[in-house]
C-alpha cells in the first residue's frame, strides 16, 4: 500500500484539456460544473491504482472491424468504405511505453451513421459493419485496429454543424488517474477547424495531438492505407525522496 501511495503522475494541465464549460459546444453549458474542482494534493491508493485487463478474454477479431460484425452471417460481406489500419503507441509523457493497457474505439460507418439505437441519420447502416474495437497494447505499447474510414456527419448544434471524420478512442493507462477518452481525426480534413467540439480546445497544438497522420510506410500495397495515432498519457514521476522529512 505504501509503495503505491508514493506513486506520482505529472499533474493534469486543465488549461490544455478543454474546459468543462464551452458555450460553442452547446450541450456542455448545462452539463458543466460551476464549482471549482477539489484538488487532492496527496492522492491515495484509490486514485493511484487502476484495473489491469490482461486477463480479459477477447475474441480473435475484436480489433478487426472489417470482420467482427455481420448483421446476417449468410449474406453480409465486407463493410463499405476505405480500408484502413489505425495503429500507434500508448506512451507516457516521458516517452515510456505503456504495455498491456486496454485501448477501446468506436466509430460511424463510411456514410457517417452509427450502429446505435439513437442514431437516426439519413445515411444507411452497413450490414457488414458494427463499429467497435478493442485490444491490449503489446510490450512496447503498440496497438492496432483494422477498419474503414468513418464518414463525417451532421449534428444538431449550430444550424449547420458537421463532425469531421473521427474515431472515438478510450485508453486506461496505469491507473484511473491516467484515464483518457479522446477522438482521432484524420490529417488534412478541412472540417477539423470548423468543428465546435474540436474548438473546445484553446491551443492548436492540443488539437494536433488528436490528428492521426497518414503513414505510407505502413500502408499495404493494393490493400489499405495506414494512419498513425499515438496516445500520450500522464507521465509517472520517479519519487527519489519518499519522506518529506
Amino acid at each position: 500500500m505504501s509503495d503505491i501511495e508514493n506513486r506520482r503522475f505529472v499533474p493534469r494541465d486543465r488549461n490544455w484539456h478543454p474546459a468543462p464549460h464551452t458555450p460553442g459546444y452547446k450541450t456542455s453549458v448545462a452539463r458543466s460544473p460551476r464549482q471549482a474542482l477539489v484538488s487532492l494534493l496527496k492522492p491515495t491508493v484509490s486514485e493511484l491504482s487502476g484495473p489491469d485487463f490482461r486477463h480479459l478474454r477477447m475474441g480473435p477479431n475484436d480489433n478487426d472491424l472489417l470482420l467482427n460484425f455481420r448483421e446476417d452471417p449468410q449474406h453480409s460481406g465486407l463493410p463499405i468504405g476505405e480500408r484502413i489500419i489505425m495503429h500507434g503507441r500508448v506512451i507516457d509523457q516521458f516517452g515510456k511505453p505503456v504495455p498491456h493497457t486496454l485501448v477501446e474505439m468506436w466509430q460511424a460507418n463510411a456514410g457517417g451513421r452509427y450502429r446505435h439505437k439513437k442514431d437516426q441519420y439519413l445515411a444507411p447502416l452497413d450490414p457488414g459493419f458494427g463499429g467497435v474495437g478493442r485490444c491490449l497494447t503489446d510490450e512496447q505499447g503498440w496497438y492496432r485496429f483494422r477498419t474503414i474510414k468513418p464518414g463525417p456527419y451532421p449534428w444538431p448544434n449550430d444550424i449547420n454543424s458537421w463532425r469531421p471524420a473521427h474515431i472515438h478512442v478510450s485508453v486506461m493507462g496505469p491507473s484511473i488517474s491516467t484515464r483518457l477518452i479522446t477522438q482521432m481525426y484524420f490529417e488534412g480534413d478541412p472540417l477539423i477547424p470548423l468543428c465546435p467540439i474540436v474548438q473546445t480546445l484553446r491551443d492548436p497544438e492540443a488539437v494536433a495531438t488528436m490528428v492521426g497522420r497518414l503513414d505510407m510506410a505502413h500502408s499495404r500495397t493494393m490493400d489499405c492505407l495506414t494512419y498513425r495515432f499515438d496516445l500520450v498519457v500522464r507521465g509517472e514521476l520517479q519519487t527519489w525522496f519518499e519522506n518529506q522529512g
Partner: protein
Amino acid sequence: MQQPNAQPMADGVLRETASQTAGPYVHIGLALDIAGLPPREQEVWNRLAGDQAEGERIEIVGRVIDGNGDIVRDALLEVWQANADGQYQPRFDSDAPFNSFGRTAATVENDGEWQFFTVKPGAVALANGRQMAPHINLMVFARGINIQLSTRLYFEDETEANAGCPIFNAIESPTRRQTLLARRESDDGESGARYRFDIRLQGEGETAFFDF
C-alpha cells in the same frame, strides 16, 4: 523522442493527448448492450460482485442531473472500489468473485437510472496509519462533458468513519461534503441493501468533483 502527433513541452516532456467528449454513442464502444450490439466474449459491466464475493451485497442506483434539473439519459459511469477488506483488486477477471472495476450507464428505458451490483467496500488504510471511510470512485462520461468528472461516493450510514476520512474532509465546505453521500433506500434490493446516489453536474446541490 518526438512522436508524430505528440506535442513536446519546452523541456521535452510530451503533452498529454487532449480529451474529447465521449459523445452520445459511447455505448457502441463501452456499453454494447445499451447500443443494441451483440456481446463479445467478455464485457466489462455492472456486476462487480458475484455470489461468492465476501462482504455485504449491495446495489447502487442513481441518476445524473444537469444544470436545468433534467435527467442526463446518456451518461456512462466507471466504478473503482476496494473489496470488503479495503483492498483493491486491480487484476480484472470476469471469473473472479469480485472485481474492483465496473461500468454502468443511464438508459432511456430506465428513465435515466443507472445501477451496479457490488459489495460494500471496506475502509481503506493509508500508509500513515489513517483510514479512509468506505468509498467508491466514480467517473462520469457523457455528451457535453469534455473531460470526465471524477467523484467519490460515501455512505450516509458511516457517519463516524466519514468524519475521520482525510479525503472526505479535504472538501472545504461541509455542505458540499453532503453531496457525496449515498442514501440507504431499501434493505431488500435485487441483491441486498439498495443505496441511491444522484450526481448533480451543476447548480444547487452540485456534486463535488475532484482533480487528482
